[in-house]
């Protein structure tokens, strides 16, 4: 039997969640939506929603803290799985195209541009600024995408270059723009006294949209929100293509917590990997990563391994099936991407 593609599996999981929430909505068991997901009096509370509501209302609620601690423990045990397996945003962005050019070449260029951010010692000369970098990346990809499974070794950074650039732990905290948005969201909630980000949260808007439609048909409730809610969601999906890696403050909170996560990390079998066994710079794993993590060389990846959502795209794209997600990191390791520091 052919193994199911990770993206298909993720869509299925999301569909199941939506159905469960929808059933809960009309059976009054109190499942709630992903902002407060649970059964009856028990709930997993959205950690960002909790922080916002704590700052906005300035009231400490022990019960809410317990609900959040439950979520924090889940994130520590499972990592940032929410972002790939439960959040509707990546799925929506996959099925709804953005406005940019969608030719195959452009797509390849985008992937490589992302990769060149991660692997700093690209073929591009060091003097080029930001503007020149994408062009250089495009050039290197024109070659890379034409050549099939074997990419030219020219782009491969040498060991010295790597060492000269950054050393350090693959999962150390790295500031990115999401943390700025997070600070803004929390500050805004504290100043204006309501959970500001919840208003435009794609997760909340998705569920709101579904239930507005359900209520329209079930109860005949008409409101402009039936147009406004999907419209705002659509604008976010279409205009913010890098929502998950650059904007989402919820993802930022989860990444922060998942720094303590040690399980289900992508692990490369160096005996199978083209790069280590044959010296061929393939880097398909890094190119396929929606979070732009270079798992082959996590030490010099611009994005920390904390951001891994366990989506399994890298595993799916690996030509030699060298990448697995073991629940616990192997002790000695056949070249574990995490432990090889």
């Amino acid at each position: 039997m052919k193994k199911m593609k990770a993206s298909t599996l993720r869509a299925l999981v999301m569909g199941v969640i939506l159905v469960v929430v929808a059933i809960g909505y009309f059976t009054a068991v109190g499942i709630g939506n992903l902002s407060g997901f649970g059964f009856d009096v028990f709930a997993f509370l959205c950690p960002l929603g909790y922080l916002e509501s704590l700052l906005a209302s300035k009231i400490f609620v022990p019960r809410a803290l317990i609900s959040v601690i439950a979520v924090v423990l889940l994130i520590i045990v499972l990592g940032r799985v929410f972002c790939a397996w439960m959040c509707p945003m990546p799925f929506l962005q996959k099925i709804i195209p953005g406005l940019g050019k969608k030719s195959k070449k452009a797509k390849g260029a985008k992937d490589a541009a992302a990769l060149s951010e991660n692997a700093p010692a690209q073929a591009a000369p060091p003097a080029v600024g930001d503007d020149a970098a994408p062009a250089a990346a495009e050039a290197s990809v024109a070659v890379a995408s034409e050549a099939t499974s074997v990419a030219p070794a020219a782009a491969e950074p040498t060991a010295q270059e790597i060492d000269a650039h950054i050393g350090g732990k693959p999962n150390r905290f790295k500031f990115d723009s999401r943390y700025g948005v997070l600070l803004g969201a929390l500050g805004s909630a504290a100043i204006f006294g309501f959970p500001v980000f919840c208003l435009i949260c794609p997760v909340g808007l998705t569920f709101a949209g579904v239930f507005l439609v359900m209520r329209l048909f079930a109860f005949g409730e008409t409101t402009w929100a039936i147009i406004a809610v999907p419209l705002v969601l659509l604008l976010e999906v279409v205009f913010f293509r890098k929502w998950c890696s650059k904007i989402c403050p919820l993802g930022a909170v989860i990444s922060l917590i998942s720094g303590a996560n040690k399980t289900l990390r992508p692990t490369i079998d160096d005996g199978k990997c083209l790069d280590t066994s044959k010296g061929i710079s393939c880097l398909r794993c890094a190119k396929s990563c929606p979070e732009h993590i270079n798992i082959r060389e996590p030490e010099l990846s611009e994005v920390s391994l904390n951001n891994c959502t366990k989506c399994r795209e890298c595993s799916d794209h690996c030509p030699t099936q060298a990448i697995t997600f073991p629940f616990l990191p192997s002790r000695k390791g056949k070249g574990d991407a995490v432990e090889k520091e």
Partner: protein
Amino acid sequence: MKKVSVSRRGFITGAVGAGCMLALGGVVMLPEQALCRPPGTRSENAFVGACVRCGKCIEVCPNACIVPATIEDGVVNLRTPKLGFSRSASQLRGAMGWCDHCTEYNNGVAKCAEVCPSGALTTTDDSSFDTMQLGVARIETDWCLAWMMKGCTLCKNACPQEAITFDEHNRPHVDESLCNGCGSCEQACVSLESVSVSAGGRSATTRAINVVPVGA
């Protein structure tokens, strides 16, 4: 060198995003409709601040009298729960449609407050059907049948608090010191529900007795 430029870009994106978040908070300045909230609400400000819009209270209400606020109620109120006592029989599907503080369904503990994960609604020991204050009933004398001398007594019959009294012309009046805003009168009112009433060139847009927020 490259790393610095990337993180600078990240910093600018983050700063712009943070600014947008702060600007978005400004929607609080837009006009908001005053709403009746489920039992267990401390104050409107504390409620709007703490509610994470998960919808659990709406789901579990055994009387089906909690409904999601819409964009017409104000942008900040969108998706928060509000009390709706004017739901029709077809929408209620056998549910009672007004708040009895779960006297029998849940041993006198409001189910909505019990399941609220964020603490926007709280269960307190002294909270009961008699002590809750969800709002106060107000009569629309323009389209109340009894005020048109048609002799309707449905709201008075429905009121468990005996807060509605009739004057010498059999017109209803609400004793606001007795009314706890449970909504039984509004649910019972036939104006707009079973009959279409218009008076003085105005046609009814709501029922003839409605629970409105205290002080509204």
